[in-house]
Every structure is written in structure tokens, then in C-alpha cells.
Symmetry: C3
Subunit: 679 residues, 3 copies
């Protein structure tokens, strides 16, 4: 059992708290502490945008208000997750040191504004952050109320200032050594771009170079590295003051700007901010996507729980429609995080501000200041229930199956010229694979190319366009050693720097592992259609006679593999659309086209059976999802969640016990939007 | 009777005339004067973009051509509405003094181009305008032909140059006194924006701050104030030369850039430019929107007629489709302005230019130069008819009902983060209320929060999100003194600077006046639906059993009010959706959701009956609209307009007389697109 | 017979070849030459983006690799089309001389990036190009393998730097002489834009003037002239070294940025790049559009064949969907170029690059490097077939009918404020006329206003909005001398500088030629409809009783012409919608509205019959298109292409012979996507 925060016995329940907005309203600050207790909250994230209040003039710190807030909350049983305020700098700093402000890709420095937009290179900004973090750490890192550092807020974006450009060039020098290497890696020969001096290189600016994909990729990698480097600089004074106080940064799920797997070592705990649009479309599909996001975040540090750092009590105010959560959805969606391995449920934010652009974002306490609103009562009810779930604290979510969803691969796909230009379909194909595993109640990790493949029996590698160095070997070894690999069209096309493999696809030798040689890929117009007929055999048992195909069809030739389905139409009729090959002790499925979802459902049902991946022998009704956390004694807590708007029954394979009430049952009835924790 | 222009006995008929484009074509200038007489025109707006011709070199004025034009027209019975030419400066001025050109929100100064884009702060521009206006006023303000000043053209936009920034900061200093006040008013604490020096403040630039809504609002207010200030500077030399020559500026209806109600005192006469897209959709709905625009413009100075300064003879050339007016529509739409209180019908423009981007905009005289075109004949026929309507000159349009449509409230709603992001629905909800009054033939004013509420028996205040200081008191007093108030969801949420009221909505004490406490508002997706069931009683007599709801549903609790309808579906089923409360001598209706139009139609039918708001006891057929102007003897002229494409009959409650022909009738038959003036 | 390239006996088959990308892969360079022979290729375009390799440092040339490539290919029977590399400059040049980089219309100079973006004015760039081209010409212009110069690549775009601005002003001075002339020509009086100094004039920059259409037009004309001037400078050293080596530049069909007819004299051969989106919509309609593009390109130099310089083997990678060509489409679409007068079929590119944004663009050789792919085999099969078509080399495509499609008219229409704003419909109306001629197998030229009209019996002049100086006289003379002119609504509205004609439309006296006076034009909303009834007579024999109308209806009055159809609906019912007038020895059809396609089909069927325009008395099945090239003996080669996905039979009017196999046939059966060459 790995508890994130050793001081807290229960799951953490709380939210962002911005008392610095209310210093002129002391009665509200007093009332907050009482309401927190009433809402069953035990921790608040404080000071996230408080720099202007903490340091109103350069070098003049004001911590008294913060002392009082932390102490007052602690007196009411509420811990503090203390933020470093670097996400928004004070106006005086931007005025005196404009270099702290970011330069956008249009080469213009921003004015003092918004947030999350400082330069990561600026020596002055780093120094000011160091001073602030040192002061905070000195004063609070041994305070009994303080349980965790919340470093900055939602790191993101990039700066294109001269300092950052220079850092980029130095990063490239370190990576490539010589311009010859760089020119080959980026294939700069194309359109006469051969660089003959490092100074000729710029980031991909609005009015600059974009056609060298290796360069674009390196810029994104550099940006991730700079962000991690900045975070390391932020953490240094914190750890110096108290090495044992853990650190987190709130990430943003599938946010495309950063490769979060590079934050693995810099964060003691992974936390993230989750804002789904419930009730807009199919909530069961959305639940699947959100579970995948939880799994992605958790899999950065797969051995331990994560935290849900931000979520909303009801409606967010920045979507197209500010739709509220229906009754029951708050509990259901919040507990989904716990089901997927979170040890916390936290909100943005505790109390709605009076002004500014977030004042209509859902919060525990509204402008009315009342404890009688639906929002408050929902939160308080959940807080009460969470107290009965303390056995889950520190319990890992363990998986034998993994889906590879690799951020660098995504970058390369997004940037690629070809296929369906607007959306290459990476997320769609990934959900084709993740979905069946999720819906069958199989625990899944969502890993990247650099993750350890050895813990898994099954790996799905959809659209793995880019094989970074070593990935092909790892995949080969995984299969040789008995693993089952499911992979698809448009895999193994390029290497780390987006250079195409020569001599056959999937490249880097993987065509041998798959027993398939790919000749070309065709992109279908939305009005096009094809399908494939399944060749009946043991492997395709229970599958339909034929499945529809859209978006992509590869022209592939068998070279050792066995065809399991062949195309029905067009000039590729009869060619393999789906194959299998045994390789070493393992097996590889190759899916050469983009099938309808039921194809993947039926395929994975067989694979799950073959590999005995289920943790419990149950048939899950539609919309009931099963997650499993491993308790301290090694047994599993099976968490059933009903995303239907009606009550549903599940027959259990054995007598089970309710984690919360201890009742023994053999059949489970879950109300609409209900969650059951069974052991 | 308040005549706008004392010299002219008839309604004004004419248009923009740009002889400066035709100085090389003397025969055309000669022909114009003859054609104007033939078209029944009695006034032309001259010199609107003539600066380059009036002052071809700095300080060298050339008025001879203008003398001739004014004299020639006067000799043909055509008065002059003389423009100040500030809307477009000459090239030599932009070249010599670049500061006269505007800086856009991207911080880049424009090049010499287009029009309506000078800096309102520039001392040089103000000086050049002063010199020009002084010269014009000296020469023409006592000319017998000149009846009105047309100051500049369609004021609009904003400048972000350093001079304007400095003026903005000074405006803020004057408004707030201290940065403490400003920081609280703007809630700058949010995201650490506390300003510690005035110089840190910028307008909302493209690459600057946008999240402080109080700041955004103040920038728009400042821009309006600067524009008014510029106009005052323009007028000063005009009034010095002849204080009795009235002044107007042509406004633009619902244009969002300026708060036109601030022009109340600076304009002697309100005039505006109106370009509806007839025949595109439902012309009867469009007629309602356009009537509302006329009413808004008129209500800036509600005691007197306004002018229709620009309209088109047939098609405008800048819409997506340059659709022409069908036969009859020109007369119908032109007389709609008169029906709503205009004393003029004027066009842009008299003659189509040979070149430039407006050369295909409809005009009285086309490139053919003929008086035989449909356009010309339509105009001439209307000119002839207008001569029979002289009794209307100076007659006011008086209303006992008003709809509040407040520009600052609109700004705040548009800027708000939340609800339906793209369009909060203010105009839609306003038309829900305006429509029934318009269609029942009830005269309506369209006023703003600063207007006098005391003349009215009925005020509709849809979506009055922002209660500026004093508005709640005025509304309370209005009801206490016997007024009927109809108001809706999303009212009284914020104060002047967009700070939320604390302690209950609608705020500033208005929840007591309404007898309703609002807990939260839900935004519906387009695919969502709800409805409310009407509780039958005297107040809801004749209403349907149930009405559909879209977009918004508030969760509101009765606190003194009586429910008149309750929600049918969702978790709010049974809660009040529509209430009434007596307060003092008056009554307040609260509509908690966005209903279908027929709900408002049925509700207002009852209210109109209760308050006896009808001027005439007629049942108006669909598409026949009734407006009423008060003649000099206090009697009403009832103006019926038929927006149907077929003839329609109306039975009259008494024998009435045709204003134009004197015929007595008891039943009225109006041809397609016809207009009848009955007394 | 005019052969473009005297050294090559066969049609040219080849493509862009970029060995400079592969210098580190000598085995690939070796293999390329073998594969070219195998693919039936006889010419490659080399060095298009090779500047960085040819001149890796300033003044240090490296030609050895190019020597080897040219020699190796020549040894394998492959000629070289040698490029000048000006389309992309090396990084060192951009670094040392930033002035070579273009300034965009936002007034910002680009960074070193992309391609096709140098300044055409820059003296340094011109000097560097001169040096490079001199070096290339000195070394290669007498090399036996080199058959043609490929100058730069896809010239396009515009530069807005200070040098270009100054050149623009000088160009204007030369054109207009005085500012008075310019001000009148541009109608600068509009919005007070009168220029009083040349320095006040700028190009249409983002933040500058756009409302003067004459200025916008002149800027586009200037840009064309500058591009031609730059190309002339490029060619000078080439011709000095070897005056007899011909020159081409690869154009881009309907690309709107340049008036390609101005390249008539500077190019010895016209060549162009053609990338249709086959299989997306109706391929037969697309074939018609593409034929029109071929005809436009050919008609720049109508007396001789042109070259298809670039096309793709299967899918391009920069469209929304990277759809591959179905089997047979490669041959069909490639031979369409030959059918319309091309003496070459060339591809971009020979081999897919390993990196960069074009690496997934279709190519003869893919990353696999194999000769067994479908792409390679399709190319090789076509190469083989082309060897049997050598009799076509040099054979012209001669037409007695022409459609005027004028680039300057297009510019003016696109820029116009009015009509259907987004798309005035020029291409749509042009295809209305081109389509019937194409589908009936009548050879057509697609000419511009400056072309010679005398070779034709029939000219279609759709939407000829702008009559440049002399055009009306040419059209009048054409008709007087016996020509048949078909023209339409929205013709003859403005002169060269977009000034409206005064005194009647179509202007410049053409209303007399047509016998019609146009009063106004109405733009229909998409939901509007009208139709016209045909008046039966000899001229309208076989036409339907009535045809639907959309988009536009003109109100026109007969003034000598005879009505052939009258409007059915709206206020224009009964007015003429379609007229004819005999004038001199010829005849003019005037079409006053935008009819459905079948109207044009039926009308042209009669005209084709009247003028005996058919080359062969056949009835062409739907989707079978006939083109005709004139062989050396004056006889025609009739080329039938079947754009159906099924086999089709055509009965022939006489015994004919297969050009390829010599077989005599009386009935022709063409397979799906097949092409037959009959003599």
C-alpha cells in the first residue's frame, strides 16, 4: 500500500480555495471553515494564484493572512495542500521585468494578462520563483496542516523568446552534436533547408518553418523538457526545506502540449484536472473516454494511486453550454476517479468568486453563501460517503492489459501531412481497443512507448506510427516472451525524428513479427464504404460474418501470418484485412483497416477469454462498468458503477460483501447512477 | 409638436449626395438637381466624405464646388443637410500626421485606408476637425438651404494608441480614485491581477488581459465617452456659429460598439441607418425586429420624432446576397420608419458611384442615369405620397409600455463566461417580450436602465443580468407605485462592474420585490427539452395547458410569490417556472425559464387587457401591424401596415378617416405591402 | 507540327527527381536509374530544390553530384529537364541577406522557411539567381542529356516589402502618368481617398486600403508583371549560354494569383501541375473541369502542345482525404492530358523522401523501394503504352470554338462587393458553357480577353463583367464578321480599372450588338426559385418547354433582339430571359439569368449543329469524352476516353483505325477507364 499523503487516513475531499480573493470579507473566511466541516471536506488547495497577495511589492512578503487561513482550517479538521503561485505573476513584476512574460509564436511578447504564460527560460522569473518558494517552504513545510505541495497550476504552452530560442539551439546541439546529424535526422535536404549554422534554426514560428516534422517534434520535446526543468527548479527549495513533503503538479489528461510521462520522476504524486461534458451525448461512451484519461494519468506512475485534483460540482462555465450535472451524476462521476485509482476527489473551486471570468464556474459554495443548495448538499453527501471508503486509501489499481497511447506518436500523427488531414483518427482507434477492455471490466493501463511492457499479458498498440528507438525491440521481446500484441494499420512508419523506415512496413523489423508486409494505405472519403468477411476458425469464434470498414484500408500482403478476414470490395477484395501470427511464445494480431466498433468488441472478448483477464466472472449489463483496486491483503475491491438512468441488476458469481456496510449479497442491484464497492 | 427641422414643412425625403465624386462630370451634377425634383426629394446630405475635396492641401480650402451644389439644389427646392467630413481624412493628413490614424487592438497602427478609423484622442486630428468645422460653419451655418448638421458618419470602433491608453487610465483614475477601489470593483484578486500602479493597466488588447470583465466593461464605457467627447468637440464650432441649427449623428440601431443612450444630450435629433434583409426569411418577424430598432433609436429622445438617415432603394451590396426589394416593399419598409416615429425617409445614396466598393449599392439613380428604372420610379412614387403626410411632421410616438434593452447589460452578457457561450440569448428573450406588444398594436418604447421609468404602466425587463446602481430602486419604486413589471431568469446577477451580488438572486433586494429566490440556472443543450404546466387562474386565463421550454431553466423557490406554472420534467419537476407577486400597488411577473413564443403572446394578451394598453379595439390579422402617432390636437393617427403578400381586411371599431384622402371607412382593406393612415 | 523538345522522339514520361536528398544513399541513386528504365521513363526534372546542395556556401559550387546524376540517367536512356533552383534559397543566404525573404501583407518579413517565398524585387536575390543560373547554364546547357529548362517552381504569391512597394509606385507612375489620372481611374474620390503624392499609395496590406478595386486590380497586375520580369531575369543567362534550349515554368491551372497569359512570351513551352481529387464526387464532372484547365493552359500558346509537368501516381498528401486512384484511373487521367494536347506525362515525384512534409505524397517509387507496388506497375504499364503514341508528338489541338475565361475579369469579380458575396459564380457559369462543348466532343480553346478572336466560329463569353479596353470592339468585329457569340448576365459592367460604364449595360456599346438593355440584376437567395418558358422557334428547336433558374435574374429590355425565353415568376414575369440578335454577318445570344445546366446543353447542341462544329458524327455515351489532335498530315486523331466504371460501346460513323494497333473497326468498345486513339 502506498499512501500518497501519510498524514491523512481518509480519501481526500476538498478543493481549490482562494481566500486571497476575500480578505475584505472576514465573515466569509470564518464561515468557510465551518462550511468545509459541514461538507465533509478534509483538505484544501490554497494559494494557487496568490502571488500578488503574498508579495504585494517586490521583496515585501505578506504571509499573515495565509497563516490565519491555514490555522483556521486546521482547527476545523481541514488540511492544506499548499500551492506555489508561479502560474500567475503580479503586475509589478511584469511591469519591472517584461522578460518574465511569454513571447507567442507570432514573435510578440504578451502584455500582463491571464495566467500560465510566463517564460520558462527567464533567469529573473526563475529567481523570483526560487525566492518565493524558499519563503513558502521555510514558513510552511513543517506545518502540521500542510500535507502536499501543489506546484504551479496546469503547466502548459510554450515561449518563443530569444532566451528560449537559444535554449532550443543548445538542446539541439546536445542531442545531435553536429549539423550533419541534424540535417539527416530532419531530412533538411527537402526544399533546400540544410542548416549550415545553428543560428539559422528557429522554433516553428507563425511566419517560419513548419515543413520539417523532425524539427516540429523536437520543439515539442524541448518544450516538455523546459517545463520539467522549470518544475525541478521550483521544487528544489521545497525539498531542501523538507524532503519528505511530497510534491504534485496538476496535469490535464489528454492535453496535447506536453508529454506528461516525462513528469514521472519530478512528481511524487500524479494529480489531474477532469472536466467531462456529462449529459451532452452518450454518457456511457464518455465514461469510457474519461476512464481512459484516468488510466493514462495513473499509468505515469502505475504502482500507486493518483489524485483527482480538480473537478466541478455541477456545471463548468467555459464550455459551449453550461449544463449542470443531473442528480446523482456528481457522486457517480466523482467515484469513477476513485474506481480508477484516485485517492482524492477535489474541486475547482470551494467558493465562487464575485468577479472575473470564473465566477460562474460551479463551486461548493455559491454567491448565495448557502449550505442549502443542491450543489452543497451533493458535495456534503459525497463527503459523508467517502468516510466509509478509507480502506481504499493507498490501494493500487493493477492491470495485466495495457493500451499504448503515446504522446510523441500523437504529435507526429497530428503534424503529418496525409491520411484524413483534419483528424488522423488516433483517439478513435485507441478507443476501439480500450473500449472493449473497459466494458468487460478488465483493468487496463494506458502506457507510452517508454513504459515497461513486461508486466502485461496483453498490449494493444493502435496506430503506432512512430517507433522510437528501442520500441520495436521491446515489442518483439514482449511477443517472444509470450505476450499478445494487437496492432493496426499505419504502424511502424517512421522513426524518432519522423524519417520513414526504408525496406518495408511496419518498419524496424516488425513486419517479421507480424508476418505482414504493407504496401500502401488508402484513405476513404466519408461517403466510401468497405467491409471484410471473417474467416471462421477457433480464433474468430463467435465473430460476425462481416464487419463494416471506414476511414482507412491498408493493402497488405501475408508473409507468414494467417488471414482472419479479407476485404469484400474495391480493388483490394480478397486481400487480408485482419491477420494473426504466432511469434516466439506469443501472438500478434494485425488489423489492417479501421473497423466498426463491434469488430473490436468481438475480438477482444475472445482474447480476454484466452488470456483469462477477467477479475470476476460476471456478465456486465450495458452501462455498468467494473473497476478493481487491490486492497492491502491482496484481495480485490470490485467497484461497479451504473451509468444508466435506471436501476440495474447484476448476478454475482459468488457471495460478496459490501465494503461500506458489510452486507453479504449474491445479486447486486444498483440504482440509477449508483456505485457499489464489493469485496 | 416638436419639429426637428423648422424650415421644412413636409416629411424629409432625400439621401446622401456625393457631388465631390462627380466634379469632372458637370452635366451629371446639373441633371441630378432636376432628377431630385422629379423624385419628390426635398433634402440631401452632402459632404460626408468630402474632406479631400474641401481641403485638397493642408490649409487650402476649396468651397466653390459646394457653394454651387447647395445653391443649385436649393434652386430646385432641395435643402441641404450638411456633413462634417471627419469620418474619412485626406491622404495628405495621414501621411503628415500618422497619429490621426487608429491603432487596432493588435497594437498596430493602420495605414491610410477605409474610413471611420481615426483616433479620437489625437490632438492634431481634433484641431484639424475644429478648423474644418469652423470653416464650414462660418460659410454655411446661416445659408437658407442648410437645415441640419450631419456630424461625421456612423461613429464606431475604438483606438488603442498610447494617447488613448493614457486617456483610459485618466478616466479610470477619475472613476475609481484609488487602485484599491479599482481592484475591488474589477475583482483583480482573481488570478493575481491586483494593480499597484495605473501604468500597469491596458485596454483589452489582443495579446493582453481579457478575463477581468469589469475592465472590459469600463473600456467600452470609456470608448463611448471618448466618442461623445469627440462629437462634442466637433459640434462646438458649429454651435458657436449658429446655435439654432440642429445637429444629428447617424447611429446604427443595435450596433454593439457604443452605448447610444449617452448621445442623448449631444444630439438635437436622433437619426439612424437601417438596412434590413427583406425577403430572406420571415419578413413579418423581421418587421418586428426592425420596429424594435426604430423604437430603440427613438427612445433615446422619446419625446420627439427621429430621422431615418440612411436606407436603401433596393439591394445593399455588402450582405451575403444582394437581394432586391420586391415591388411594394420599398414603400412599405420606408413608411414603417414613419409609423414608428420618423419624420424622414432618406437613402444611401442618391447616385451610384462609378468606382469603389459601394458602386453596386442600391441608389436612386443608377449608372444608366435614367429616371425610368424601377428604383427611381419607386422612390418618386413614395416622394409623391409623402407630400400627403405632412400632418405627421413633428408628431410624437407615445408609449405606455416599455421594454428595457440596455447596452451595458448586453456588453456584460456578451462578455460573460457561461450559459450558452456563443449567444447568451439576450436579443431572443427581448423579442419574446417586444413581439407580443408590437403585434397587438401597442406602442412601445425601448429604453435603457438609465431611462425614466415613471411614464410607463408596463415595463418588461428581460434578462436584466446587470443591475447598475439605482436600477433596483427604480424598479422597486415603479412597482410600488402601481407599475406592472415582467422580468425573467438571469436577472440581477451582477452590479455595475460585473461583481456578483452576494446573498441572493435577483440581487440588490429585488428577490423581495419578485417574491422569488433563485438557486441556480441550468443551460440546456439544443437536444434537451422541458416544459411547464400552467396553473389555471384568473391571471392565466386563456393560456394553454403547457408550454415548451428551451435554453435555460432556473431553479427558483417561492418566497412570497404565487406560482403560475411549474416544470414538467427533469429534477426540477414541480418547481415554479412562472410566478406573480403583488408588491405595493403594482405587480411583478417572474419568468424563470426560456419559453416558446406563444407563452409570451398569451401572457401579454392578458396584461394588455388588464392595463387597457390598446389604442384601438381592433383584432389585427396576422402580418398587419399597427403603430400610432399623436397628432397636434392630441388625437392619434393609426397606421396600419400589411406585411402580407396578399390583400387583407381589418374591421374597424368605429368609422375612421383616411389621413391622406379624407375618405370615411368602417372596414379597412389593405393591399399587399400596403400602408393606411387612419384618424 | 511543333515539337517542344526536338531531341525526344516519344512523348515525355518522367517526373521530379531529387537526388540531392539521397546523396548519403549511393545504392539508392544507382537503383533509381535502373528503375526508371524499367518504368518506361525517358526524362526527369532535376534540381528543383537543390540550391543548398549546389551552393553549400556562398560562392562555393558543388556540381559533381549533379554531373554524375545526369550522366548516369543519360546512360540509362533518361533525359534531364534541368531546374533553376530559385524556388527555395539556402539557409545561409536568408541568414546573410534577409532581404531575399518575402514580406507578407501583414508587413512582417518571414523567417527562413518553406519555399516559393522570395522577394521578386530584391537586387541581391536577383544577383544570386543570376550567378547560379549562369553557372548551371555554362556547365549544362550544351549537355546532350539536357532537353529543357525548368525555371524555378510554381511561381506565385506576392511580396510587400519596401522595395516592392517602390516598384509598385513606379509601375503606377508609368501606367497613369499623373495622380489625376490615377485618382479618376481608381475613383479615389470615394471615401476621400484622393492621392496627392505617390508615396501615399501602398499595396492592399492587411491593415491598409482595400476598398479601391482599381488599386487592388493594379496590384495583382503589378505582381504578375514583377513575376514575369523576375522570370525574364532568370532566363537571360540561360539563353545567353544556349539560345536554342527551350524554357518552361510549371504553372498551376486556375491558380488565382497570376495572370498566366502574360507568360505567353517568356515561356517557350507551357507546362503545368495537375492534381484532381478523383473519386471524391462525380468524376465525369471533374473530368470536364480538368479538361477546361488543360485547355486554359494550352490556350496560352494555342498553336502548340503543352506539357503536364506534375501529376501524382496515386494519392496526394495535402488534400483533406488522401484517397488513392482506383485501378485504371492513373492511365485514364494521365492520358486525358495527352488527349487535350500535352506531349508529356510527368509526376511529382520519382521517389518518396524519407522526411519532410511531402514524404507521403504519391511517387513512382515508395519507401519500400520496390518495383512490385501497384503504383510502380501502373506507371510502368503507362510508360509502355506511351511508346506506341509517338505519332502524337508535336500534334496540335485545334479549336473552332472558344470560351473566354479571363483572369483579370476573375480578379475583378472576386473582389466585387455585391451579388453572391462569397462566390460570384464565375467558374460555375463558365462551366455551363464549356461543359456542353466538351461533352459533345467539340474541341475548345479557353482564351482570355487579349487573345486573338479571329480563329473562332463560336465564342462563349460568360459573365464578362470587365470589358478591358478594346474587348468590346473585338467582340463587335467578331460578330460582324460572322461569328456566333454567346454571352450572359453581368457582362460589360466595368472597364479596365473597375469603373462602371455610364449610359447602359452591357457597356462600351455592346448593348447595341446584343440588342438588349439591362436595367438591374437581382441576386436570388438559395431558397428562391424562378424559371423561364422557351418561345418555340427554329432557334429553340428541341429545347424543353421551361428551364429552372437560380442565383441571378437580370431585368433586361429588348432593344432589337428577339426574346427566346421569358421569365415565369416574380415581378419580372414576361420579361426576356434569353434573346438572340443577328448583327452584321453574325449572331449574339444573350442569357439574362443563371439557368440549370440542361438549358446550356440544349442550346449548344443547336449551335454546334448550326456551325457544324463536330469533328466526327458520333453520339457519345454519357461519360465518354472525345478530344481531337491534328496529326502531321492534317488528319485528326480522335481520342475517346471512358470515364465510366463499366465498359461502353460507341458506334462509329465510318471505319476507323486504332492508332496504336492498326486494327480497323466500325464499332468501338472501351473498357472502364479506357482510352482509344482512332484515326
Amino acid at each position: 500500500m502506498k499512501k500518497m499523503v501519510t498524514k491523512v487516513a481518509d480519501l481526500i475531499h476538498g478543493g481549490d480555495y482562494n481566500p486571497d480573493q476575500w480578505l475584505l470579507y472576514p465573515e466569509i473566511l470564518e464561515r468557510d471553515a465551518e462550511l468545509m466541516r459541514e461538507a465533509g471536506c478534509n483538505a484544501m488547495s490554497i494559494g494557487i494564484f496568490a502571488w500578488a497577495t503574498l508579495e504585494p511589492e517586490e521583496g515585501k512578503y505578506n504571509f499573515e493572512w495565509l497563516d490565519q487561513v491555514i490555522d483556521r482550517l486546521y482547527a476545523h479538521g481541514v488540511y492544506t495542500i499548499l500551492a506555489t503561485p508561479s502560474a500567475a505573476r503580479p503586475a509589478w513584476m511584469a511591469e519591472k521585468y517584461p522578460e518574465v512574460l511569454r513571447v507567442n509564436s507570432d514573435n510578440r511578447r504578451i502584455l500582463f494578462s491571464a495566467r500560465h504564460n510566463h517564460c520558462y527560460s527567464s533567469p529573473i522569473y526563475r529567481e523570483k520563483v526560487r525566492q518565493m518558494n524558499t519563503a513558502l517552504a521555510t514558513r510552511y513545510s513543517h506545518h502540521p496542516a500542510v500535507i502536499l505541495w501543489h506546484v504551479s497550476n496546469e503547466y502548459g504552452g510554450a515561449c518563443y523568446c530569444d532566451l528560449c530560442k537559444e535554449n532550443f539551439r543548445n538542446w539541439l546541439k546536445k542531442k545531435y552534436g553536429t549539423l550533419e546529424n541534424l540535417n539527416h535526422a530532419w531530412w533538411s535536404y527537402f526544399w533546400s533547408k540544410n542548416f549550415t549554422s545553428w543560428d539559422q534554426i528557429n522554433p516553428p514560428m507563425d511566419n517560419g518553418e513548419h515543413s520539417l516534422h523532425g524539427m516540429n517534434l523536437d520543439w515539442k520535446r524541448f518544450t516538455t523538457d523546459m517545463t520539467v526543468d522549470f518544475m525541478e527548479a521550483e521544487i528544489k527549495p521545497l525539498k531542501e526545506a523538507n524532503p519528505s513533503l511530497p510534491v504534485t503538479a496538476n496535469l490535464m489528461g489528454f492535453y496535447p502540449g506536453l508529454n506528461y510521462f516525462k513528469f514521472k520522476n519530478v512528481c511524487d504524486v500524479i494529480s489531474w484536472d477532469n472536466y467531462p461534458a456529462w449529459h451532452e451525448g452518450d454518457d456511457q461512451e464518455l465514461a469510457c473516454s474519461i476512464a481512459m484519461a484516468h488510466d493514462l494519468m495513473r499509468s505515469i506512475k502505475p504502482s500507486q494511486p493518483f489524485m483527482l485534483m480538480e473537478s466541478v460540482t455541477t456545471a463548468v462555465n467555459w464550455k459551449e453550454y453550461a449544463k449542470m450535472k443531473r442528480p446523482g451524476m456528481h457522486e457517480l462521476s466523482s467515484l469513477q476517479a476513485v474506481a480508477r485509482g484516485s485517492d482524492s476527489i477535489q474541486y475547482f473551486q470551494w467558493r465562487k468568486g464575485r468577479g472575473g471570468s470564473e465566477k460562474f464556474h460551479g463551486a461548493v459554495v455559491g454567491h448565495l453563501g448557502s449550505n442549502q443548495t443542491r450543489e452543497f448538499r451533493d458535495v456534503a453527501a459525497l463527503g459523508k460517503r467517502m468516510k466509509g471508503l478509507s480502506r481504499l486509501v493507498g490501494s493500487p489499481f493493477e492491470a495485466k492489459a495495457a493500451v499504448i497511447w503515446d504522446t510523441e506518436n500523437r504529435w507526429a500523427l497530428d503534424d503529418l501531412q496525409g491520411l484524413i488531414q483534419k483528424d488522423k483518427g488516433y483517439m478513435k482507434e485507441a478507443l476501439h481497443h480500450y473500449g472493449p477492455l473497459f466494458r468487460e471490466g478488465v483493468n487496463v493501463d494506458v502506457i507510452d512507448e517508454e513504459s515497461d511492457f513486461t508486466p502485461y499479458q496483453l498490449i494493444a498498440a493502435p496506430m503506432l506510427y512512430m517507433y522510437r528507438a528501442g520500441v520495436a525491440e521491446k515489442l518483439r521481446a514482449f511477443v517472444e516472451n509470450g505476450g499478445t500484441l494487437v496492432t493496426t494499420y499505419w504502424s511502424g512508419v517512421v522513426n524518432d525524428t519522423d524519417l520513414c523506415f526504408l525496406g518495408g512496413f511496419p518498419g524496424d523489423g516488425m513486419n517479421q513479427v507480424m508476418g505482414v508486409d504493407v504496401e500502401e494505405i488508402d484513405t476513404l472519403y466519408p461517403q466510401d464504404a468497405n467491409s471484410a468477411t471473417i474467416l471462421p476458425c477457433e480464433t474468430t469464434r463467435g465473430m460476425k460474418a462481416s464487419y463494416a470498414i471506414e476511414d482507412y484500408t491498408e493493402v497488405a500482403h501475408l508473409n507468414g501470418a494467417t488471414a482472419l478476414a479479407t476485404y469484400d470490395d474495391d480493388f483490394i477484395a480478397g486481400l487480408p484485412a485482419f491477420t494473426v501470427q504466432s511469434f516466439g511464445k506469443g501472438k500478434v494480431y494485425y488489423i489492417a483497416a479501421c473497423f466498426e466498433q463491434s469488430f473490436y468488441d468481438d475480438l477482444y472478448r475472445n482474447i480476454i477469454e484466452d488470456l483469462s483477464l477477467k477479475t470476476l466472472d460476471v456478465t456486465l449489463p450495458k452501462g455498468v462498468f467494473l473497476s478493481n483496486r487491490t486492497l492491502e491483503d491482496g484481495s480485490l475491491c470490485h467497484i461497479f458503477q451504473n451509468f444508466n438512468t435506471n436501476e440495474v441488476s447484476v448476478s454475482l458469481p459468488r457471495e460478496m460483501e459490501c465494503l461500506e456496510c458489510g452486507e453479504k449479497i449474491t445479486s447486486l442491484t444498483i440504482p440509477a447512477y449508483g456505485t457499489a464497492f464489493l469485496i
